[in-house]
Point group: C2
Chain length 220, copies 2
DNA sequence: CGGCATCTTGAGTTGGGTCAATGGTCGTGG
DNA sequence: CCACGACCATTGACCCAACTCAAGATGCCG
């Protein structure tokens, strides 16, 4: 790839996201049912997306941190199927899909990039489906913590000292279990010296130990 | 949209899928880890995709019938994260992604179409996540049967007389429960005159009754 | 300091898993 | 054509992980 083309590409990517928006903790960018207008990239902060079921139930379908993109669910029907909520004060880059489409015609890499982003989201969802469908409580929490750890690390933060932005109930919603169960498992992991837990401050003490929790379960 | 452009578009879509392939029941198009080469559309038959977890566990992440497209999980890393298996003799259209990308530059609708397809897959996955995360066994089966019914109907088949192509165990894998539980719930639904069950032949007797099963559960 | 939200812990219940046995169905070969 | 064997589905009995309900504990903010 010629250097010039690459730098053009970067410039384009930058143009894509030139609109920013600040979002206070607890506020939403869009609600379920809103007309789809754009994709969103987290610049700073933490976002959750929750899907509303036909009956009243709500489940968190994703947590997004700096560098991650969300909102893809709105493309299919031009209408968002989820609600996005800031878990802390956040800064969000707005990426109008029309702009992506136009740039894609000129720069095939832009198109490639967005295909890959959506594919990655699909893979991520399949991972959660496996977690929800075939792991037990302790395995789910272990997998969740390791996943957070890795994402923090990838973003330049410590992979061991994690400050949770979500409450226990939200973790439960995401992992398909009740608050009480989440809490009990945190306590258990602390007793077993896998984690140290103080409120939302979690320190991962034994990565290997957590890894071993996953997959060595009776379930076949 | 001028009629001519529309017909060009259709022609292009047709060119996209001009390679076909027959697949015997039980055979695979690709395995987890294979290099990604193309997307696949079901022309006739029935396909399952299953994801392999780090530990040995396997979970079915999708069932695809005529008209549905699968394989999107391979785009992210250029490597498939799942294995696709034919549940019955099937005919598959091969859609090389490069071709999609090239046509997209010329026909923006092609690009739109594939963005929407991927978004739809994400929405579908979120639905399953909700099902796995917050529904109980009976609700899951009810939701599953109604979903199948609707897809059969959309493809021109009877929405009431359904011939399952997958075994009970595969339904269980997809819905996050054991064979025995699936079987018990089918029996229960039959006792309650919601379904009539004979082997893989299911007749839906009471759509409203099934709908009411979903969402009226203790959970919260 | 009080009030409110969140988190933890305990006790009892239950949906679904496990294990084990039985029953059907289908394809193959004698 | 029937009998055998393989595979799949169903059913029963028992058990346990996670849920429910209920009480405290902890921390946060005005």
């Amino acid at each position: 790839m010629p250097a010039e083309a690459a730098s053009d590409f970067i410039k384009k990517l930058d143009e894509l996201v030139y609109v920013r928006r600040r979002l206070k903790a607890g506020n939403s960018l869009y609600h379920s049912g809103d007309r789809f207008q754009a994709l969103y990239a987290v610049k700073t902060g933490f976002i959750k997306t929750e899907s509303l079921h036909d009956d009243g139930r709500v489940q968190i379908t994703g947590f997004y941190m700096a560098g991650e993109i969300f909102g893809f669910d709105g493309i299919a029907t031009e209408e968002h199927m989820s609600t996005s909520v800031a878990l802390e004060d956040s800064e969000i880059c707005i990426i109008p899909l029309d702009r992506v489409k136009n740039f894609s015609r000129e720069f095939s890499q832009v198109q490639n990039h967005f295909f890959k982003l959506m594919s990655r989201e699909i893979v991520r969802d399949h991972t959660i489906m496996m977690l929800l469908g075939s792991m037990q409580g302790e395995e789910r929490i272990a997998a969740f913590m390791l996943n957070l750890s890795q994402r923090f690390y990838a973003r330049g933060y410590s992979p061991f000292n994690i400050v949770l932005r979500m409450k226990r109930e939200e973790i439960g919603s995401y992992l398909g279990m009740k608050v009480e169960t989440v809490s009990r498992i945190f306590t258990k992991f602390q007793d077993q010296k896998l984690l140290s837990v103080h409120q939302k401050n979690i320190r991962i003490l034994d990565v290997e130990g957590l890894r071993k929790r996953i997959g060595q379960h009776p379930s076949k």
